[in-house]
Amino acid sequence: MKDSIISIDDVSFQYPDQTAFALQHVSLHVQRGEWLAIVGHNGSGKSTLAKMLNGLHYPKEGTVTISGLALSEENVWAIREKLGMVFQNPDNQFVGTTVQDDVAFGLENNGVEQKEMKERVQEALEKVGMTAFLNQEPHHLSGGQKQRVAIASVIALRPDIILLDEATSMLDPAGRDEVMNTIRSIKDEEGLTVISITHDLEEAAKADRVVVLNQGSVYTEGSPQAIFQLDQELLTLGLDVPFPVRMSQLLADEGLILSQRHFTEEELVKDVWTLNFKK
């Protein structure tokens, strides 16, 4: 694991007023340029892990290294520049009174010169396709647009890693696609590392690798294909297999073997209606 951008080694964490450990001996490595999904039901420790990566919590045991910096109180501000975070609620992370003020907020905090700030705000908003909304106030934006602004304010800081903490869970399906497509294109353009923390397996299906957390420890990890093969096991962990995956399994049970696994409805539909042509 030479080129891991994030190393989590044997990390345990306990909330101050609780006896149970929220994280227990978690070890995890993230490759540079990888898209990693961390899934788990409520209380599996995935949010705690997310907050730890941003220095909002410190491990009780073990070490966390991000972009070559060990997580500690001295390094935390440098780490926050390397790792940007998009949170769940689109409203509660919008600090500025307008779109451009919000994107500039992180830059102001890091003491970027005003002239450069203007350029970076413009550039970041271009990347998420929100330049037309420069002076718009947050209450005139949809949830998906607000999350795109949140992504812009993260990439304006030019981080190495972008961490999505349930960033699409409060959005409607259209907003969800909007945000995921934005992330995908930015990731390809900038060579960013993406970590998405979610309980939505359809979102996890888009990742390169999936880590399943359960009761504060890593339950299993693998490619989305391998993870979805677990099927019943996932259900016992409180995770729902995406509909297209379940559907093609049911079809397989009926003797209709489709050529490949499907993660989106579109893929499934395409395969089903072309099935007879292949015979």
């Binding site: 009174t97 102001e108 905090n109 800081l157």
Partner: protein, 265 residues
């Protein structure tokens, strides 16, 4: 809900007044509040009136629009006028209504004071009408900047102001939603005695407060994640620029004050 309130609303037009530095506008209004008190006769009030009209015309804001904004205070103005009419006993008697006698001095004084009220309201509402709230905040932060030396948390106060401004529509939306949710459960906000109406507000306020605190907590985490660590070492995205017209505006105010000083009796 916001549409009815003119106070604190911003009208994005293009005018010299809109383009002025918010600091200049704040200083101007602060000065104007004192200058208004210099007027004490017909000539000086006329001069003040003409001057205010001139400023309104410069701002491109319709006088009718300012008039609608007067509605909430019109009773207050009327009340002060009548108070002076009935209770100031100066000059000759104009009319005798039973035990009340109306003096000429009372009418004049009442008119002057109402006019003073009116001018102050016009000019101060011009500030918010021509300046986006965020610029007002920036202006205040910059003007009070020197107070940082005596440990007044100017930056924090300004940030608090701008965050409150940003969350007003969000919380109004939320209030609306909670209200509908409670109405769907049979709550009645619009009828009944005053006490029962006040009681009906409680199930509205509690969820609102709970969610506001939750929002505050999440916002604080989000701000920290984006590197917020207080005002030190922070740069500003919005830079205020003081132009010649800003100095000119303040000089005009000084000239006005001098003229009023010369003309007052």
């Amino acid at each position: 809900m916001m549409e009815k309130i003119i106070l604190g609303r911003y009208l994005p037009l293009n005018s010299v007044v809109h383009r002025m530095d918010p600091r200049a506008k704040l200083l101007f209004i602060f000065g104007f509040v004192f200058v208004v008190f210099l007027a004490n006769n017909v000539l000086t009030y006329a001069l003040l009136g003409v001057f205010t009209l001139f400023v309104i015309v410069l701002s491109n804001i319709k006088i009718q629009f300012l008039m609608t904004g007067l509605k909430p205070v019109i009773w207050l103005i009327l009340f002060t006028f009548l108070l002076h009419v009935f209770f100031t006993k100066e000059g000759e008697v104009l009319a005798q209504l039973g035990f009340l006698s109306i003096y000429k001095g009372g009418v004049i004084k009442g008119a002057f004071i109402s006019l003073r009220f009116l001018l102050l309201i016009f000019v101060t509402s011009l500030l918010t009408l021509t300046t986006p709230p965020i610029s007002v905040t920036d202006g205040i932060e910059s003007l009070f900047g020197p107070l940082k030396r005596v440990k007044v948390p100017v930056h924090e106060l300004a940030l608090m102001m701008s965050i409150s401004l940003r969350f007003i529509p969000t919380l109004l939306d939320e209030t609306d939603k909670i209200m509908k949710a409670q109405m769907a459960r049979g709550a009645d906000f619009t009828s009944g005695s005053l006490t029962s109406r006040i009681k009906a507000v409680i199930p509205l306020l509690i969820p609102l407060f709970v969610s506001a605190f939750k929002r505050a907590e999440e916002l604080a985490v989000a701000m920290e994640a984006r590197g917020y660590r207080g005002g030190e070492g922070r740069t500003k995205y919005r830079v205020l620029a003081w132009h010649g017209r800003d100095t000119a505006a303040l000089l005009v105010l000084v000239a006005l004050a001098a003229a009023l000083f010369g003309l007052r009796s």
